[in-house]
């Protein structure tokens, strides 16, 4: 009996995908109609702060470099979804620039990361 448990344990230890990044300090916005990300493996995270900083893979990058970076990611994985983690107070100028960069790189699947809205808010 304990052998079975050990096997299952090893299985879960292997399949748990640990967070590989820290990300930037953002206050996440809240929304109601949020859906789960399709697949964790085909996801790349883009962080955006309200001061205009952008970070991908734990590196702060310039907005104009985003397209090139994403183009490489799309080339490696055409099904990649971009999960945009932006502070709720970010201005749309930055978001629109991100949109443009993503469109140039043909990274069209986007998910605006958000937390569930508290009921009654």
């Amino acid at each position: 009996m304990p052998d079975i448990i050990f096997m299952l344990l090893i299985f879960f230890m292997v399949t748990t995908v640990m967070r590989e990044y820290e990300g930037l300090d953002v206050i996440m916005p809240r929304a109601k109609m949020i859906e789960k990300l399709e697949s964790k493996r085909h996801t790349t995270y883009v962080w955006a702060t309200k001061d205009g900083l952008i970070s991908v893979d734990d590196r702060i990058i310039h907005i104009n470099d985003l397209a090139g970076l994403m183009y490489n990611k799309v080339a490696k994985d055409p099904k990649v979804t971009v999960s945009l983690k932006s502070d709720e107070k970010t201005t749309m100028k930055l978001i629109t620039d991100i949109h443009t960069q993503l469109r140039t790189a043909n990274a069209l699947k986007l998910s605006y990361s958000a937390l569930t809205k508290k009921p009654g808010s």
């Binding site: 299952l8 929304a31 109609m33 964790k40 999960s83 749309m92 998910s111």
Partner: protein
């Protein structure tokens, strides 16, 4: 001669190993699902692909810097958007909703509008090209 009774070889009771294994197992069962991020999904329009769409099938949603919304040139409350959009879709399932924001619009407000559109089950959502300022 004192015969020491030979103690039987001590065995550590290993039944508690199974308990530890159970606990660790439950821990991993729980933690494998925690980091699933959630968000509002959207497909961006591909670049340069300005499709010719019948103007009747487009609903323009404009947002200004304070988060106020103009739906079809009518000022609308954000919470009322999903109701209006639902009715519009019922009338024309091919409607495309184009969202246009001001560079100083707050992301939270934009997301609230998207949230309303998603709540109304709008499938054709497009982000308008920002006008050259």
């Amino acid at each position: 001669m004192i015969k020491k009774k030979r103690r039987p070889p001590q065995e550590i009771n290993s039944s508690s190993m199974a308990d530890i294994a159970f606990l660790l197992l439950v821990f991993f069962l729980v933690t494998t699902t925690i980091s699933m991020d959630k968000g509002i999904s959207l497909v961006l329009p591909s670049e340069g692909n300005e499709l010719e769409v019948n103007r009747k099938n487009i609903v323009n949603i404009l947002m200004n810097e304070s988060g106020k919304v103009l739906l079809d040139d009518k000022p609308t409350r954000v919470e009322a958007i999903h109701g209006i959009v639902e009715r519009k879709i019922a009338g024309n399932p091919n409607l495309i909703f184009s969202v246009q924001t001001h560079p100083r619009t707050k992301y939270q407000d934009y997301l609230r509008v998207l949230d309303q559109l998603k709540e109304a089950k709008a499938t054709k959502i497009s982000i308008a090209n920002p006008p050259a300022f």
